[in-house]
Amino acid sequence: MREHLLTLLIFLPLTGALLALVWPAHRSRNLRLLTLSICLLEVVLSGFLYTNFDFSTGRYPYSELYDWITLPLGSLGTVSIDYALAVDGISLPLVLLATSIMLVGAISSWTITARPKAYFALYLLLSGTVVGCFLAQDFFLFYLFFEFMLLPMYFLIGLWGGPRREYAAIKFFVYTFLGSLLILIVMIGLYLSAIDPLETARAAGWLLAGELPSEGLISKVQQALAQGVLLPEQLVHTFRFEYLADPANYLPDAWLNPISGIFLGETSVRVLAFWLLFAGFAVKLPVVPVHTWLPDAHVEAPTPISVVLAGILLKIGGYGFIRIVHGFFPNEALDSSVPLAILAMISIVYGGFNALAQYDLKKMIAYSSISHMGFVLLGIAALTAEGLNGAIYQMVSHGVLSAMLFLLAGVLSDRTHNRQIDHYRGLIGRMPRYTVLTGIAFFASLGLPGFSGFVGELFTLMGAFRAGQIPIWIPAVSTVGIVLAAAYFLWTLQRMFFGEFWYRKSEDAALLTDLSPREMSLLMVLALATLLLGLFPNTVFSITGPTVQAWLDSLN
């Protein structure tokens, strides 16, 4: 089973989604149990991934590789799309995060009663595609999962969301879709520029079917490629990550060849491609100024979807930066560190200021997410071990914390359907347990040492300070974000939770009951998770460290 664990992780929820579609309608309430057990199983399976993980090499020892589509196009070479899955230190923390947050979302979906069949089918579809995104080792496969994620998300926001759900859903869709178009363009460009050396060797007859590749075969093919010896019909184009990341696999006259460097006017095509790809993933992260879908989507989405959106989907943006944008365009990324870091700084400060100005609790949290994800970009822009590890850590930490924050906001909107900060005062009098957990979540998010938020901020900032190419004032200004975080979280705490109890609609005050055991236990587990991550950050760094180091070494 260990050999097919990765496939199982993807297809278990997808099968569940199909099952949900054919589930008898009069039993549809049982679907939540099905979803819950599938998500639980996913967590257990990803736990196996962790226990079998090889910490010295930073890889899960079993990867999967099958030829999926092979289409000879004559003089245009051969299209080769592989079903390639693998897990390394960069994706493992995010896979663990994804399955855990999906479980949290499933538990918090307990109260969904409208159209449960459709809801849970879409939820499971989302679950499978998200995991697929982190496991895929073929750009085409990745893109497939990436696009397929939009569909369930669009409907989950648009059908189960708040009053302005249609607007939010379409905005989310248009934004991300435009982003993925940019990714698609570059993906095709990369595909046309690079080859799969092994398949090419087969096509050229240097490697017979069933024969194992000899030691120097790959470099032989690459030399032949560089000398232009290979015929166009023999070239097998590829989407595989590992081949795209190696400059030797690029055709000498290709547009995106890292060495020859073709220019369009003044700018190199590669730089152009880098920025297109960056923009595509920046929408997802999100980076200011392409972030405005996020607050709307969060405000309108139902609680579990907000949790999933903030907890996992944003992380695919950061993952895409590390794996794809910086993975395939490392030199361009290094040259663009300064603008990237400035964008990160703007996201941090601008998001923080906006969070300070919000009256809607969910919107405040949404803007704080933008600010916190800015730290991820800062760490990635630094291109140092601390920065990259910190960025991954910050993604995990923010995943846990934002899940907690949106659950907390959901508690309030479940009860009164009102999230206006200034409509409440002194909630501590009515909901003491809720107040304590909100306090923990707020302090953890504002970077109190001991909780995970602090380590993420510390390491991304440290990475930016240590990066030679980034001027020191950028991370120094970014520390304003830490002050702002204290301001907006504590101000909210002061306005909503302390003082004498008061609620604007006094006739509804009885609705404000303290946390139910289900909510309580869920929040406690998340609080414990952020505490443990904060006290023992090495649990994450021991996974990410070797992979990131190898990745950085390969750049030099």
């Binding site: 200011v288 501590i428 991370p475 002050v483 204290a486 002061q494 950050p537 460290g545």
Partner: protein
Amino acid sequence: MSSTDLTFPVLLLLALPFLAFGAIAGMGSFLRASVGWVAAAFTAAGLGLSLLLFLSPESVQMQYDWIRLGPYVLTLSLRVDSLAGIMLLLVHAVALLVQVYSIAYMHDDPNRSRYFAFLQLFIFSMLGILLSGSLLLMYIFWELVGLSSYLLIGFWHHKPRAVWAAKKAFILNRIGDAAFLTGILLLLHHTGTTDFTALPSALSVLSPGLLTAIGLCLFGGCVGKSAQFPLSAWLPDAMEGPTPVSALIHAATMVAAGIFLLARISFLLTPTAQVVIACIGTITMLHGAWLALRAWDIKRVLAYSTISQLGLMVVAVGLGSWQTAMFHLLTHAFFKAGLFLSAGSVIHALHPTETQTNFDPQNMRTMGGLRTVMPRTFWCFVICAAALSGLPLLSGFLSKDAIFLAAFASTASLGSVAYVFAALAILAAGLTAYYMTRQVWLIFFGKKRYSAASVHPHESPALMWIPMAILAVGTLFFWYSSNPFEAESGWLFRVLQYAPDVHSVWVPMVSVAVTVSGIGFAWQKATGTRNFLADAGEDESPNWRLLAQQIFNRLRLLAEHSEETQQHIFFLGPLQKIARACAYIENRGIDTLVNRLSRYMVVVAHVLSWADRYLTDGGVRAVSYSVRGAGAVVRQFQNGKIQSYFLVTFVSVLLLLLWVLVI
């Protein structure tokens, strides 16, 4: 004793308050009334342990690899040396007394167990700061101290002002902390370590300019936590918390953490950084003292005085003598805690009965004559006030005198500018004597000004006055030095290995003279016709009506000045004017600046939010409209008419052909 033997005691020392925190938070309702005694017992055990550590001759250093990233290891280390040892004793001693006091002070508060749990959390974080072997670990506990301070200032969370003050304290501290963190990151970047043992040798790679920048960034942490100019505004507001908390956290220990930090990093402060630090300290010292001259809230006077004394300690560090700063920190902790506890006793005694709620038991305008009613409190207060003023035979005199001497000694390294610092420090000592005399007179002397119907002042119970009395006894000179006029022979400097090389007879004489004349002027003013109460109408934060009245009063004062005594014109008159100006700067300037800044921050946030909604988002919407427009154009072709479909198809095929043929 080898250092490994001490590993366990050190860890236990840190674990004790945390266990107490957990125990009280978990079983608070079970412990009920005894919760305070449990807390005090834990702290007493800690006091014993820290005494053991202090007496052991060796310093302890232990390490833990917190984060490993390949070759890069982030180490957290604990360290106990003589400096930490002194502070450990101090924190435990004051914390123990304050907790015993709190048992009586908080006896009818329903949330007692939460109170003691938070206090233990504070002790845990404070001990963490003291035991930290690296700046990074110190920063971690530094923030935790900020948290416990937040929780304790806002302890009465139903009071909007308390919650507001808690938030203000945390955010202003955060500003300093951001600088502190920047300094730590700069150090990590350039030297790769923040460990106090490894740092001195690692500093050689840094250029002096960079080192100055790092030193000032780290000093930022001290500016926040020790309430230095311009981040001092949170400390007076922090007085919204329970009074024992003010004594422990906002007078004796937490606010001293900034001084402790400076003492730890004194080796990396460049001369430029030192001068900047001394200047900030001087401004804080004078500013705080002048504000204390005209405050009416019994606790606020003490808070302003704390700011001023912290400023004095910062000046001492800036002048290169952190040992004297530590000495003053130590003596100040005792007499300021004593003053706060005595003030708490007064507040406790003046607490009105349920029926009258508009009576403010902290307002010194409605006190007076309490000397006879509460003699024990009176004596404790007076002794501590005298120590704060710097009267001989008391600890304050010794430590202040050491600082003055160090200031004069620093002329050797800093040049004649050090004379200015020394003179201003002595001036501040005179002001201190003045405002403390004013406060003593307002509380304990004169006629009683509270209405007897609702307020029945009484002496506090033994649980309260015994800790006060212990602290008052702790201000006597012989605890610190056998010679009442010289600190050099005391144990502290021996422990810290400090040997001042300047001896002077006239420095103590001048400072005593200034102190005595400060007291004298204040006493003269108190017993004269225009005593302090004549200004009682002036509030600390006047509204426009009061302001108009003040301007009128000021004009009248100008006319009357010719008839005043000479000292009023040349000393007190201008002094009070400066005090008013300072209060004006504080209220209208810094405080308003901070408030405005926070308001502007919200305004900027709103402007940005507006821009976000209408400009950034608007751009997006414009795109979506144009897409929709394009869609509308395209939609026209799909109008159900066969002819137009045919037209579109025809044109498309034509274009396709064109493309195929041409390319």
